[in-house]
Amino acid sequence: MKITTKIISNHGIKPEEYKKILSLMGKEPNLLELGIFSAMWNEHCSYKSSKKYLGKLPTKNKKVIQGPGENAGIVDIGDNDALVFKIESHNHPSYIEPYQGAATGVGGILRDIFTMGARPIATLNSIHFGSYDHPKTKNLLNGVVSGIGGYGNCMGIPTVGGEVKFNSTYNENILVNAMAVGLVKKNKIFYSKAKGINKPVIYVGSKTGRDGIHGASMASAEFDKNIDKKKPTVQVGDPFTEKLLLEACLELMKDDSIISIQDMGAAGLTSSSVEMASKGKLGIEIDLNKIPCREEKMTPYEMMLSESQERMLLILNSGKEENAKKIFKKWGLDFSIIGKTTDTKNLLLIYDNKEVANIPLSYLSDDAPVYDRKWKKNKNQKKIKKTKEIDSTQLLQSFKKILSSPNNSNKSWVWEQYDHTVMGDTIQKPGGDSAVVRIHGQNKAIAVTVDSSADYCSANPFLGAKQVVSETWRNLISVGAAPIAITNCLNFGNPEKNKIMGQFVETIEGITDACKYLDFPVVSGNVSFYNETQNNSISPTPTIGGVGLINKLECMMTMDLKESESLLFVIGKTQGHLHQSEFYKEVLNIKNGPPPEVNLFNEKNNGAIVSKLINKKLVNSVHDISSGGILLALSEMCILGKIGAKIKVPQNNLNLYEYLFGEDQSRYIIEINQKNKNEVSKILEENSIYFELLGNTQTNILELSGKFKLSLSELSKLNSSWFKSYFKEE
């Protein structure tokens, strides 16, 4: 077949990139070879726009065993245990086909975890939809939530946390970011780097079908009007097969049969074979007649580019084939020896005894284009002068509006569709600051959370990114964990535009700043560009997944108020930052202005002291103050604990709204028993921590002295009605 300009552009290859292919190959590639280049050179697989900047992220400290570049990152949690974790996007497919898109997003991230020898112990997700009244939102939300549940529930891995947000910036491009965490013994980690020549290359798992062909290329372009035609690029998931694949792989991993292993994710067989061989500086030869196919007459092109799910590629030690085959047969999975490693450093594909493609591997990886894209610095937004004094009689009304808004409502409608108690180790379920999952059979636990702040990042990507990392850190501190490391999912529009590239560059700077200061390295992640439709880009949305360790279960903390007559302290200074706050957005409809700044010194210091108070068992409950400010944070503590509070705004120069709804960073609310007041105050003073008395707890009523009283049942109802009425369930 003649390679025409149309074929080239259909493969998402730019004219100058095609020129590079011609000069590398020294001849015109055939269609299969072109397809392979397109699969490896697209943004999703090559990171060609982001590579230059990703290298700046801090990725190491003494806990990090594996940083970015493998299937997932790994950190040490002591006792020969290690945590394997990563977050990944499945945005484009989920918009086209929400159930399957979201389901296979979960499936893909789980494979990344067990590929490394770890048993997945928790998943989380961050999902962003357009405005709730956009005609597509309800269907997308329903589909994505059922898809995530459908896959994770069947796998028997608890979905322990996440976030659900609505914002018109996602009207035409939703975000589905899925994170998974696994547990592995430090001496039993598996990697994807191939070693040794003439070793058997094995295909295991599901058969290859025609689904998901060019999925990675689809996800490397903007959406246009013909989006419905892209359905065939969405993969179809089968969690049952993945469960079998998980058990079979872990069973085989008990001995030393496997040299290296890689899941077939984006760009399927192509990227897995190329990556394994390239990392090992070897060649690889595959006989395509040996590929188990689901459909008849599949061409080499389709086999190499299919993104059928639930497949793995293994390189085994010679002589281990029979034993491995027995295990996969037991689990009812396909097992086929499809080729071998070679010393040629080429990818050689054979079909019907003929050579159908032969490409030096370096062309596909090392020589893949890397762009130094032009970028423009984001304009700092100025604070707007207050146009009108807000009438203080509207306080209660404003509070109710924020408490019952879609973004601040209780999300149990969502997470009750996810099995969060399977595996019997979930200690803190969704709805807290972080989820807490016990390390099976031990007296320690991990804390996990995912966070994002799109409006902050949109107003100022640098400050916003810094804030998200800090909030993740704070959420881990709040449950009594020592933060360890993060994974990031960077969701942006089209990087070929200066403005978008600027957002990306500044986001990386913000993450880097916070991570360096907090010693909170990035160990894995992914970049999702082209979240853009007809020139409308999403707000820059870095999603941060953080993990921390709780060394002793006795020192775990929760946010629900525990008893009446205890004291409430606010840790950290409230300065009344209302720009980009829930109050400005929900009540006053003001969308401009800068996000709150994070003072990393205070962040670290306040966090360290809160940790100390928790470890000394001097606090009853802890909750970080984030969007919605003090009043929303306190309400959540009251609702969960079924305990009320009576508060009084301390003497200061802020108005009520600034004090109660300001979103200044690095703050916590802590509940302490009266008897600990002196000791807590002493520790805080000794460490120069700013704190003030907010009030005390009481039964049944949330009360602001002289302003309002609200019963807990009303408070709870306001906070939990939105989803039910949206789906007309009550």
Partner: protein
């Protein structure tokens, strides 16, 4: 006491129940669905999960597994069988328990803690609930909506074969406290000889106070008493 946990392809609460059995010092063996005979056991557990991916109908394909013949023999001899969640669905498909488990009324998967009233203490599984008959356990299912013909429901009620009913935190059994639309708020039933219990809630997930509850422990304590 000796137990066997049957592992089907797609079972995913097999480890959880094994952990619980071990905690209560019940000597347990895992038995692969393709085995032809059961090892010597007092108790057989069909665990939760998605056996065969819930394809065709929940529990349906598993009920035709090779090991099931021996499980049925074990039941006929009066041996104890506990089916949890998917295990309950399998017991219904084998015909060892009557009725059907339909999709939840709201057509959504539901994972949450529920309150239950224990209604029959006179069996091997529930005797220790006598001290505390209002309990809390987690559910996590898509097809837990118990349904049966009126005469079957009537005889379950008359013969006192309903082990658990969904209720509210005060023990009231009413429509509002029914999470999935089950007939008569049924959460678990016994066969007439009371050697077989099928239940949708997961006692094996609630055996540790740190996991916000330990009301599941009584099932295992009852088995031992």
């Amino acid at each position: 006491m000796k137990s066997s946990v049957i592992v089907f392809p797609g079972s995913n609460c097999d480890r959880d129940i094994a952990v619980a059995l071990k905690k209560f010092q019940i000597k347990n063996q895992m038995v692969w669905h393709d085995e032809s005979s059961l090892p010597d056991s007092d108790l057989v557990v069909l665990p939760g999960g998605f056996s065969y991916g819930d394809y065709l109908r929940t529990g349906c394909i598993a009920s035709k597994s090779r090991i099931i013949d021996d499980v049925i023999k074990h039941a006929k001899k009066g041996g104890l069988i506990l089916g949890i969640c998917n295990g309950f669905q399998i017991l219904i498909e084998t015909g060892l328990l009557p009725g059907a488990l339909l999709r939840n009324e709201k057509l959504r998967f539901l994972s949450k803690n529920v309150f239950l009233k224990v209604l029959n203490f006179n069996n091997h599984f529930c005797s220790t609930y006598k001290k505390k008959d209002l309990i809390e356990l987690p559910i996590a299912h898509n097809e837990g909506n118990y349904f049966a013909r009126k005469n079957i429901l009537q005889s379950l009620e008359d013969e006192n074969l309903i082990a658990f009913k969904y209720c509210d935190r005060d023990g009231k059994i009413e429509k509002n406290s029914n999470p999935n639309g089950s007939s008569n708020n049924i959460a678990g039933i016994l066969n007439s000889k009371k050697n077989i219990l099928g239940m949708m809630p997961h006692p094996e997930r609630f055996i540790d106070p740190i996991l916000s509850g330990s009301d599941g422990s009584n099932i295992f304590e009852s088995l031992l008493s």
